[in-house]
């Protein structure tokens, strides 16, 4: 007993979530604890307005990348909360995005065939994406929620690997490997002289991402977040407190899947096509990389992560283009180099800086603040 006791306390100490007090709490830029829900929505809206304005500074290609990053943010933030708050690991969030994307495509195409246009054709497909992905996520969550750790990870891995097989088995509906074309509601008439298509797509993507992040910002400050933490840290204690661990896990998985579905819907909207190749295992793992790089369980980290996973492949393919390589070698490097870089980053971050970019930034600001308060008494 005497030998195990110190180890147990050490584990409990390390496992206990760090509760930042005082100034550090202010670093939750998106979710300071003192704000009311209405204030949080106002801040979210303000940030969205600034982001919409910033799109005027970008060229069409950069706007397209921004829209892709915004779509990824939806899935990454959901995955980040899932891993960080309930301790469930999904390797198949790309498959949930695909479910959302296909739902978006069918709804949008059907509304187009029915001759329904306007805002309805923009909003309804996103709702369909949300519902279908949440339903699938709930199903997967139920199968995986009763056990911890590797089971859910393996199940979601099987899901994402079965996606191409599903698409070709039901190819008359899902369009096989080639996927299906999505006809979408274009930008409103009065905007067509002011902004380009890519910029409008970025606007839609940013708006969806703002809704997702805003909702999650409310969620992490709600009693539900405490229940998740309780289930993650000590299931027996949580159960004794009247919390149903299965309900909490399945609920969070469904919410996380809904966010991923919205992200998939955004991708379907901006690329106007859905194919299984776009939502493969590699993309799924990229989402996990983004979560870890940014900082598991934090919303600001999700934004950092989305920026990194969109920027790094651009940078590596720019590098391979510059290098004087044979056509075959540069073709092999293209894509694979980014995967290797991400793999290395994932391992290094997990071993050296498990709190990710968000943790590093928080530590830096904290250090600066301490230095300032240490300097303060010297001011005459």
């Amino acid at each position: 007993m005497t030998t195990t006791a110190p180890i147990d306390t050490a584990d409990a100490e390390a496992g206990r979530p760090r509760r930042p007090r005082g100034a550090r709490a202010r670093l939750w830029i998106l979710t300071p604890g003192s704000w009311t829900p209405a204030q949080r929505w106002m801040i979210t809206g303000l940030v969205l307005l600034v982001a919409l304005g910033a799109t005027f500074l970008l060229d069409p290609y950069r706007n397209f990348l921004l829209a892709t990053a915004a779509a990824s943010v939806c899935a990454i933030s959901g995955l980040s909360l899932l891993v960080g708050r309930t301790g469930q690991l999904s390797l198949g969030h790309a498959a949930l995005m695909a479910a959302g994307a296909y739902a978006f495509a069918f709804t949008s195409n059907a509304l187009g065939d029915a001759g329904i246009d306007g805002p309805v054709r923009l909003v309804l497909p996103f709702l369909a994406a949300l519902i279908v992905a949440a339903a699938l996520g709930g199903l997967v969550g139920i199968a995986g929620a009763r056990l911890h750790g590797p089971y859910l990870a393996g199940l979601t891995l099987a899901l994402v690997l079965a996606l191409p097989a599903l698409a070709s088995t039901f190819s008359n509906v899902l369009g096989g490997d080639a996927g299906i074309y999505v006809s979408v509601e274009r930008r409103p008439e009065f905007l067509s002289t002011i902004i380009a298509t890519e910029q409008w797509q970025a606007w839609v993507a940013l708006a969806v991402a703002a809704i997702v992040l805003g909702t999650f910002a409310q969620l992490v400050r709600s009693p539900a977040a405490l229940r998740m933490q309780a289930v993650r840290d000590d299931e027996s204690a949580a159960r004794l407190s009247g919390i149903d661990p299965v309900a909490v896990r399945v609920g969070m998985f469904a919410v996380s899947a809904a966010a991923a579905g919205l992200g998939g819907g955004v991708l379907a909207y901006i690329t106007q096509s859905v194919s299984p190749g776009a939502f493969g295992l590699t993309f799924s793992l990229f989402l996990l990389v983004a979560v870890v790089i940014g900082g598991v369980g934090t919303l600001a980290g999700a934004v950092w992560g989305a920026i990194v996973i969109v920027a790094v492949p651009e940078i590596t393919s720019a590098i391979t283009e510059v290098l004087p390589l044979s056509a075959e070698l540069s073709q092999r490097l293209d894509g694979n180099l980014a995967i290797v870089v991400f793999g290395v980053i994932l391992v290094v971050v997990m071993l050296a800086a498990p709190r990710g970019i968000h943790g590093a930034v928080a530590d830096l600001v904290e250090r600066l603040r301490r230095r300032r308060s240490a300097d303060a008494p010297h001011i005459p």
């Binding site: 496992g15 690991l89 099987a158 097989a165 694979n336 290395v344």
Partner: protein, 292 residues
């Protein structure tokens, strides 16, 4: 009748390979309580080394020896350089590090060898032998059976009849008590990884001739299949791994023969969902489900 016998043989051979790969997963799980998600990529890397040796010398026995040694080296490096240093606070940490290793290995293999399938030639005929007019089983299938049987028997002997096996079981069962009794637990863990990676590499090398060929992603689906097998068998039951491996191999062979090869991954997914919903602790595991 002849078709049925052929399918039975092919299915059992496929299942034997699944069983071997699942056994590799079970070995690491028992030794360290880690589900090694990098098993597929590690084994495929070892198989690529063996492929180079096979191309260079043309000797299949030498390739088998190489895959065992290369697998052992990769397992050793993985445990000593990475897994030992992963904070054990949450079981997710080791899975995430393993995923990082998967990305590095598949990416590097893709850069070195390209994405196309490399055929692996074997010195055994894939044509079935005939007794009278009835085709029964191909020599390669028989060879796979013999190799798997030898390896499984060897592992069983190691764990039940030797003091090394006893030490490994002790450190997996309770590392604190094992350490107090003079077992070098860290060394036993490394040994578990070495053993498991060797067995996994062998499984991939045996599987490749019957599949499309060797590619950086050969391990992905094999891993999911073997993971399903290990879940059905119960992650800590070697006997369960072997029995459910043969069962899943048979099932997949009959299903894909009836409805085409693309149905395979879907069948595995459905099987995994059903097992997790109905009996999450595994069909062959008598113990209560572990929560960690």
């Amino acid at each position: 009748m002849s078709t049925f016998l052929l399918l039975l043989g092919a299915g059992l051979a496929r299942g034997a390979v699944f069983a071997l790969f699942a056994l590799a997963l079970v070995l690491i799980w028992r030794a360290t309580r880690i589900a090694n998600f990098a098993q597929g990529a590690m084994s495929v890397s070892a198989a690529y080394v063996a492929y180079l040796v096979l191309m260079g010398t043309g000797s299949f026995p030498l390739a088998i020896l190489t895959v065992l040694l290369a697998g052992a080296a990769i397992g050793f490096a993985m445990e000593r350089a990475l897994m030992r240093h992963v904070p054990s606070r949450s079981p997710l940490n080791s899975i995430i590090v393993a995923i990082g290793v998967v990305m590095v290995l598949t990416g590097v293999l893709g850069i070195l060898f390209g994405a196309d399938y490399k055929p692996v030639a074997v010195p055994f005929s894939r044509q079935p032998l005939e007794i009278g007019d009835v085709a029964i089983v191909s020599p390669y299938t028989l060879f796979v059976f013999v190799v798997v049987a030898v390896v499984v028997a060897g592992i069983a002997l190691l764990f039940t009849k030797t003091s090394l096996g006893l030490a490994m079981r002790a450190s997996a069962f309770d590392d604190e008590v094992a350490r107090l009794n003079g077992v070098r637990v860290a060394r036993m863990r490394t040994l578990g990884w070495v053993l498991s990676a060797s067995v996994g590499g062998l499984a991939v090398l045996l599987a490749v001739p019957t599949e499309l060929g060797l590619s950086p992603h050969s391990g992905d689906l094999l891993f999911v299949n073997a993971f399903t097998v290990a879940i059905i068998g119960g992650l800590d039951s070697p006997v369960g791994a072997v029995i459910s491996g043969l069962f899943v191999g048979l099932l997949l062979t009959f299903v894909t023969t009836a409805w085409g090869a693309t149905i395979g991954p879907i069948a595995v997914l459905v099987l995994l969902v059903v097992v997790l919903l109905v009996r999450p602790q595994g069909v062959f595991s008598l113990r209560k489900a572990r929560l960690a």
